[in-house]
Structure formats: C-alpha cells, structure tokens
C-alpha cells in the first residue's frame, strides 16, 4: 500500500469551516466563489444553421406571404397587389363550394380511414400468423412505391366505361350499370376512395404488424393461462397494445389525405358535378385554374391551421411513452 502522506484531502482548509453535518454526513451549502467561463457551443449551432436558413426561406417567408396574399387582390400579371378589405375572407362565408369542400374532405378522409384501418388490421393479424409473411408484405408494399398520379391514371383506365377491365367486371357482376363508377355523382366518391384504399392500406398493415410484434408475449401467455382463447386474447391484449400504433397510422393517413390530391385530379378532377371536389382540389382550382391567388391564400390558410392542429396531436402521440412500450393490461 502506498504511503498515506502522499495523498491527503484538505478537509481542514477554509472550505471545511463552512461545511455542515446533516443526517450524519458532511454537506456543503455555500456556492463557489467564482465560476470558470463556459466554453462555447456555437459549433453545434453553425452545423444547424444551413438547414434552418433554407427552411426559413421556404416555409416561414412563404407563410407570411400567404397571410399577405389572403388580404389582397393578387395580380400575377404585375399590376400590383391591391388591399381589398378582407374580401377574400368574407367571400368564404358565402362560398358554398368552400364549405362543401370541407365536408367532402372529411367524408372522403373518414371513408378512407374506415376501410383502410379495418382492412389493414385484418390483413396484419392474418399476416402475423402466416408463414409467407415476408414475401407477401414485400408484394403488398408495391402500390405504395407508385406515384399517386400514376396510380390515378391506371385506375382511370381500369374504371373506364367503355374499355376498363374493372368496369367490365363490375358491370358483368351486376354491381354497376352502364355509367362508370367515376361518372355517377353518388359513386364517384367511392371510386376515389377505392384507389386510396388500394394504394395505402399496406401502410396501415405495416404499422400494425410492427405493433403486433411488440405485443408482450408474457401478457398473451398470462391471459391464456387465465383461460382466454385466441379471439379474446386479441381483443383483451393485442388490441389495447396496438392503440398507439393505430393512432399514429390514422393521423398519418389523415394528414396525407389533406396533403395529396394527385390521384383525384386525374380520376375526377373534382367532378362529376363537384361531388368529389374535396377542399384541396377546390383550392387547386381556385389558385391554379382561375389564378385567384388571393382567395386561394385564404383557403390555404384555413387548411394549414387545421393540419397544424392535427400535427400537434401527432407530435404528442409520437412523444407519448405509449408509442414506445405497451402498457400492461389486466388478464380478465
């Protein structure tokens, strides 16, 4: 052992005078006389800077432009923007297409969601018990890789009343008459929903599958010992554990229904008789068909506000511990 005197602790210096015994141990309840200068962390901020600048230029700046535009009569020709006393906004209250647009958007999203979640979860449960899971999932992924506009074109071809194979199938089966599914005001919405379901159900399936893999096996087994069969096991254990995953899936799809209208533009363009003119489609028409950019800006702002609220909810779900671990559910 080394010589004791070579190492000493200065417990008898000035510092020790101020130390106090509490609960049988030494404590210090004074502050250091002076602090060392804190080293710079600017290094990190410089790394962040380019991305922040680019993002600011392409998001914040346009956002204020959007507000500015919504308050003016915007003229692309260069005649200058004219203040128009909130006319863009007041018109919205009388604009039935705007209000219908919201309604149709909600209806469209709800229909897509209902079918995709139902089908997607069923598919996930079946795939989870299937030996061919890997290869089947890979095949089912394929529609998602397709540009939505191409998917729209392909389905437009399939739906066609005179030479579309799917129309022929539906007509031969007696489900549809002469008019194509996109031609009738009552069926067109179903037509575009089917395309969305075809393309995006696999996403719900993928997310659900990832969730099912995380259902704690010990919970399932404990429930079986308690007397549950596979069906009860699913509803009592798997499903509660899946909720956070489903919530993420639903919110993601919901926002994508707001974000993308590529397929609808090709399939119906909002018709017939505006029966599929969901809000983003209407916004597209107003802004880029009629070039009423001021009014478009007002509509765009309403759409943005709603998506930001949805986004806030989504981020909260992302952050919640439930999305990382399954909560333990009682057996019976």
């Amino acid at each position: 052992m080394a010589d004791t005197s070579s190492s000493t602790v200065e417990l008898d210096g000035t510092a020790d005078l101020a130390s106090v015994m509490r609960d049988g141990r030494r404590t210090i309840n004074y502050d250091p006389p002076h602090l060392n200068p804190v080293p710079s962390r600017q290094y990190y901020f410089y790394l962040m800077l380019p991305a922040i600048i680019i993002l600011a230029c392409i998001t914040i700046y346009p956002f204020f432009w959007l507000i500015y535009m919504s308050l003016h009569k915007v003229d692309i020709g260069g005649a200058g923007d004219v203040w128009n006393d909130f006319k863009n906004w007041t018109r919205l209250t009388r604009d039935s297409k705007f209000q219908d647009g919201w309604w149709l958007l909600l209806k469209y999203s709800a229909m897509c969601m209902f079918m995709e979640v139902g089908l997607g979860v069923l598919l996930a449960v079946i795939l989870n018990n299937s030996r061919a899971e890997k290869i089947l999932v890979t095949i089912f992924l394929m529609p998602m890789m397709m540009a939505p506009v191409i998917a729209g074109l392909v389905w437009y071809y399939l739906y066609n009343g005179t030479f579309g194979w799917y129309h022929w199938l539906l007509e031969s089966a007696g489900i549809l008459g002469e008019t194509s599914i996109l031609g009738g005001t009552s069926t067109a919405m179903i037509g575009i929903v089917i395309v969305d379901v075809w393309q995006w159900t696999p996403l719900i399936t993928l997310i659900t599958l990832a969730g099912l893999k995380r259902v704690p096996r010990d919970q399932l087994e404990a429930n079986m010992v308690d007397g549950a069969g596979p069906v009860r096991n699913f509803f009592q254990i798997s499903l509660p554990n899946l909720y956070p995953f489903l919530l993420i899936a639903i919110l993601l799809r919901f926002m994508d229904n707001f974000r993308f209208i590529d397929a609808i533009l090709v399939l119906t363009g909002g018709g017939p008789a505006n029966s599929t003119k969901i809000l983003p489609t209407y916004l597209f028409d107003v802004s880029f068909q009629f070039f009423k950019l001021g009014r478009g800006a007002a509509i765009a702002l309403t759409l943005l506000v709603v998506t930001i609220i949805l986004g806030l909810i989504l981020v909260r779900v992302f952050d919640s511990p439930a999305s990382k671990t399954g909560q333990t559910q009682a057996g019976n």
Partner: protein
C-alpha cells in the same frame, strides 16, 4: 505519468450541483477509487478529469499543469466507459489500434503493441471479431485493451466491471489490480461497489451527494469512518446502530441503554473527553455484525437478546436479534445453536466499535 490534483472543483448542471467543492489529490502511480452511491457525483468527477465535461468552478492539475481548458485528446488520458463504448463497426483489433492510428504511429509498431495488449488481456483469438460478437467480459477486456495500448499518463475507469456477472467481477478485480501494479500508471477508478474500492485501491474517496465524505486508505475507510454515513455505507452487512447515553460513572465513561451498560476503554474515554468535555452526551453506538459475539445461552454478564431468525450462509451464519425494540444483526460461526425465540447473550468488541455524536453524526472514534 503524473499526479492528479483537484482543487475546489464544482460541477453544476443548471441548478443541480453534481460536485461540490471537491479537493482531492492522487499521487503518481497510485490507484485511487472514487466510491459512492449512484448520483453522488463520482462519474461527473471522472468526466471532468477526462475533459468530457466542463469544470464549472475550480481547477484540475495533472502534475503542475492546469488542464481545465484542454480537450480530451490533449490530456494524454485513456478512459474505460461503463458500457465500454466500443466502435461497433470496427474489429477488436481496430478498436484497440484506433488511438495509435490517430497518432500516425508506424504500422509495425501498432501491430506489436496491439498484440502485446491482447496477449496481456488474453483476447488474442478475438482480434478479428466485432463487438457484437463478444461477451460482456470480452467487450470489457477490449475496452481495457484500447486504454492500455495508449500508455497514457492517467487511466480513468468508469464502473468498468459493473455489468459483468459476480464471478467474473471477482476475477477481474484481481486482474485489474495486477495490471495497474505492472504498468505503474496512475489510475482513477469510479465505482459504487465498496468491494471493488476496498480490494483494489491505494486510496478511497467516499462521496455522497456531490460532497467528499472521507478520503483515506481502504483500511482507514473501513476501520475509522469519520461520520455515521460513511460507517453505514461501508461494510456488508451494514453496521448496527444503537442509540445510547454516555455518562461518567466512577471515573470511567459508560454507554447506557435500557438493556445494557458498557464501559469505554481508557483510550476511548480520553478521546471523548478531549474532544468534548461536557457531562452527558447523546451518542449512537455503531457495531459491525462481525464485531458482535453471540452465545446461544443466556449468561448473567452478557447483553441479553432474543433470536428472531438465523440465516446460514455456508461459512458464516447471520443472526437477526431483537434487543428491546431495536434489531441487531450479528455474524457468527455456522455452528450457532440458537433457534427462533431463544434467549441469548451478546458481547461487543470494545476495541473495534464506533461512537458517533447523535446530533452531528461525526465519529468520536
């Protein structure tokens, strides 16, 4: 090689003070353990030594050189991390060689040094594997190899064997101590495990809530704890504490308790009187389980207690005892015959017991 000195070092994270006014020195070539429960500031101390954390206040010296503002690479230290922090994409060989390559050392020399370190740690057959293919013990050896191949002036070990299983840990304690003696490099070793600290270190610094409690040789820490907290923290099973009064009786100092009266030795009485001449004192008696002798029969002169339960441990036996309202734990030979509920008598080892001031917790002896 260098000595290390921490002078009035503080570490603050926002409002939280992780290390408070720490003064510590470690001589050249010494093995210093920083021991304390989790959250005591021992890891922060080590990270400040490594240069991974900014020193909020105070100074750190390696030899005579103040190193506060030096980045890790210029401090000539090597560190072994709690979770080993091996490069997952590099082989064991590359992991060990990395620091030498960064110094642009000659290839043949690197090879020679890596092989030597690997031989010393007995991981030669593993050199081509990646960390994911290694067991915990092998990863830990690789991490140590990465540190020793550098031949730094100071080793910093952050709970390097905490995640190994008990058997391997016991084995590694011996190996690490041998390694440090062979290399002769100054080593600062952080742990929460007193067994590691007591068995390996030349000196132990005991910390709690950012404050240094005691600094001394393992023997001093164990046999002369400076306060009640250290006394309770060191030793397994922990020390028994019994509240007593200390009174003058016929020229000697006595500890009185409803169930016993014990007389201090002359030397102990002299210490107490010198420190604190007042008459009556509220104190706490501390006796380690192996400093209590238990007899299975109730003798007149002994302290009478009742057996609550016995716990045979093979080579020893632990006896849980009730002394009035307080419970005591004693360590005896395995042939102790007492049964649950039996009366028995105890004797405390007067030369090894400790007495603390009940108000401050400071030890008289």
């Amino acid at each position: 090689m260098a000595s290390v000195k921490l002078s009035n070092v503080w570490k603050m994270y926002g409002q939280t003070e992780a290390v408070r006014d720490l003064n510590l020195t470690c001589a050249d070539g010494e093995f210093l353990c920083v021991l304390g429960p989790s959250g005591c500031g021992k890891s922060s101390t080590l990270r400040m030594l490594a240069g991974l954390e900014h020193i909020s206040a105070g100074d750190i010296y390696f030899g005579d050189k103040r190193v506060n503002d030096l980045p890790p690479k210029d401090r000539d230290i090597a560190m072994v991390f709690e979770n080993y922090a091996l490069y997952p994409h590099k082989t064991v060989y590359e992991n060990i060689a990395n620091s030498l390559r960064l110094r642009r050392m000659d290839k043949a020399l690197i090879d020679q040094k890596v092989k030597k370190a690997a031989a010393m740690l007995e991981i030669e057959p593993l050199l081509d594997r990646r960390p994911a293919e290694l067991s915990g013990g092998q990863k830990q050896r690789t991490a140590i190899g990465r540190a020793i191949v550098r031949e730094p002036q100071l080793f910093l070990f952050d709970e390097p064997i905490a995640h190994l299983d008990a058997k391997l840990r016991a084995h590694m304690r011996g190996e690490l101590k041998i390694m440090q003696r062979d290399l002769g490099t100054t080593m600062i070793y952080v742990t929460h495990d007193q067994l590691e600290a007591l068995s390996m270190a030349d000196h132990v610094a005991v910390m709690h809530e950012g404050v240094l409690q005691q600094f001394g040789t393992p023997h001093e820490i164990y046999s002369q704890p400076v306060n009640e907290w250290v006394a309770g923290f060191i030793g397994e099973p922990p020390m028994n504490f019994v509240d007593c009064e200390m009174v003058e009786e016929g020229g000697s100092l006595c500890l009185t308790h409803p169930h016993f009266t014990q007389v201090l030795t002359e030397a102990q009485a002299a210490i107490v009187r010198a420190k604190d001449p007042a008459g009556q004192r509220q104190v706490r008696l501390g006796v380690r389980p192996d400093e209590i002798a238990v007899l299975a029969e109730a003798l007149d002169e002994g302290i009478k207690a009742r057996v609550l339960v016995t716990e045979p441990l093979g080579g020893d036996m632990l006896v849980d005892l009730a002394l009035g309202d307080s419970k005591l734990l004693a360590k005896t030979k395995p042939d102790f015959a007492g049964q649950r509920g039996d009366e028995c008598s105890l004797t405390f080892d007067r030369n090894r017991w400790h007495v603390f001031d009940r108000a401050s917790g400071l030890a008289y002896f």
